[in-house]
Amino acid sequence: MVEAMENIASKKAQFLSNFLAKDTDVNSSLAKQEALKALENLEFPTTRDEYWKYTRVGKITSAKYSQIPSFKVSDISNYCIEGLETYRVVFVNGFFSEELSDISTNQGVSILPIAKARKENTDEIEQYFGKLSKHKTQFFSALNTVFNTNGVFVKIAKNSILEKPIHIINITNAESAAFNPRNLFVVEENAEVQIINSYETSSGSSFTNATTEIYVKEGAKVDSYILQNESDTSKQINEIDVLQESNTTYSATTITLNGGLVRNNHNIEVRGQGSETNLFGLYLTSGNQHIDNHTIVDHIEPNCESNEVYIGVMDDKSTAVFNGKVFVRSEAQKTNAYQQNKNMLLTDDASAYSKPELEIYADDVKCSHGSTTGQVDEEAIFYLRTRGVSEANARKMMICAFAHEILDNIKIEVLREMLEIQIDERFVLVESL
């Protein structure tokens, strides 16, 4: 027993030795101190923890990570959204790339690499940093809070409505390297912003452990897109923590097109009346991929509405997990909460674990949730084929129609069109089972 514990302890020490705390001035941040302490006590999550029941992190924790190689991206256009003008923040292997970025901003918005902001806006960062993240209880959140090297700090000033989205592009090409990007968004009263966060692998396999905190202040609107398109061997843990004040709208669409192991933890605290939360997700898995979406919407105040729809298509031997939890606290009367998860399995070897959960402590609320998992409707395939539609086209039509329900919610038109094309192309060659 003692030996086993020592073994675990040494495994953790070995894993942590992969990371270098660049910023040795631990005292500068309370959250960092908390996280450092938490790391001493927290173990790797295992499938014995309910929160990690279907996702093993052994692939992450047993890997050796090399020093991050520097690498230059000469052409950024592949990673941009064609026809969309954005503010652009580019990180290449975790390093902020000034020459690829375009953060020359107007009044009302400030976009800074967080490392720089920490030096220049120390007090402001300290006010927000680590106040939402789960670093006291979650191992990977603590890891990020201690070892984060870069990311972005964005502040949208009161009443500012951003005329173009902010696109944060994370590109990696490292053979087994680990990154801890950390983002902080403060969207002040009545401001409006669209954020796109994309994660791409140019080559190799990496472990990205991202944590993002978003403050949506009274009357503000945030429309956020998370695009995950990493390599088959990449691993990603992505925690997003949101605080919504009153009369706010937070909408997030998470699109996972590729990735070896992806775990998204999306936590929304609705601490204000008259707010709206929309969470949409689309995950398309293949090979041996494992994609896990965990969401928590916590309704603390009355008269709020939340909508959640996650849709997945699983091919080959891949696995998808959805766990959506909605809390309606005793004060949160007149809450309207809707939650839906739909999975389509393309093979007998693909699996889906779905667990929509409602925990309601108020009595005057309207909540519903549902989950379906099935295969392509063969009756419909036959129907389409009798009209002359080839089998491949029939399958493609059925799968794309299923996925499009999520894309229809995307408000940035060129982004929606780009994804529609990508998804249509992806399913062109789906043959019969």
Binding site: L384, R385, T386, V389
Partner: protein, 256 residues
């Protein structure tokens, strides 16, 4: 045009069609009637190429062997089945579905895709033919359609695809008299000297609107009687008993 010889079909070891013969010539309308469970819908599904059946025998359309072809290839050869229960397909719009269907059939025939302008023109024409609400065309295939709208949508698709052989499987079921008239009207307008129609029905009612050249009675997987439209009237009056009793006793004789 259509020639069926000694057609057998079974599903999960149960033989449903037991040596069926039928010949349909261009320009003709054939009605197939018969009691429940006699194999009428199976015949329709087997001609269209539903994969659930084990099939033997010969089915040719203008000399081409259909049984070797996939459902979409049969559609390419000119087979169309109007379903008894049209399938709802959420998320697939009628227009996109028809565009793909029309162009996949054109590709099968070695033709280039239809120009968007021509397609829209055809769409409008055929929509008018079956008095289909314009809104339904842009909606998802059959999703939330009433029974009558679904059947009308079947005939609309038939009009768009212009088949050589159309099989209407219980197209009259669930239709009120106005919808029946519209559907029948559509079918009659689509009739020509080059195509043929098989109407599968329980009731004489539809045959008042679409007048058949021949009426066949299908029972226990075989056609046991063929005649002209008067046969349908006789069936309406007398039911099937007078025909099926004879079959059973003759089978008994064979067995004994």
């Amino acid at each position: 045009m259509l020639r069926i010889k000694n057609l057998h079909a079974s599903v999960d070891g149960n033989e449903i069609l037991k040596g069926l013969n039928l010949e349909v010539k261009a320009g003709e309308v054939h009605a197939i009637m018969g009691p429940n469970g006699s194999g009428k819908s199976t015949l329709a599904s087997v001609i269209a190429g539903k994969p659930d059946y084990e099939v033997s025998g010969d089915v040719t359309l203008n000399g081409k062997d259909l049984l070797d072809l996939a459902p979409e290839e049969r559609a390419g050869e000119g087979v169309f089945l109007a379903f008894q229960y049209p399938v709802e397909i959420p998320g697939v719009s009628n227009v996109n579905f028809l565009k793909t269907a029309v162009n996949d059939i054109r590709a099968y025939k070695g033709l280039p895709p239809m120009a968007a302008k021509d397609f829209l023109k055809m769409l409008k024409e055929k929509q008018a033919l079956v008095e289909l609400d314009k809104k339904l065309t842009s909606r998802s295939v059959n999703e939330g359609f009433s029974g009558g709208e679904k059947k009308r949508n079947e005939i609309f698709q038939m009009a768009m695809l212009n088949p050589k052989l159309a099989i209407l499987d219980e197209t009259d079921s669930g239709l009120d008299i106005d919808a029946l008239r519209i559907v029948a009207n559509g079918v009659n307008k689509l009739k020509s000297a080059d195509n043929a129609t098989i109407i599968i029905t329980h009731y004489q009612r539809l045959l008042d609107y679409i007048v058949p050249d021949y009426v066949h009675v299908l029972y226990d997987g075989k056609i046991i009687k063929s005649g002209t439209k008067e046969l349908a009237l006789e069936l309406e009056e007398k039911g099937y008993d007078w025909l099926t009793k004879g079959v059973e006793s003759s089978e008994l004789k064979v067995k004994s």
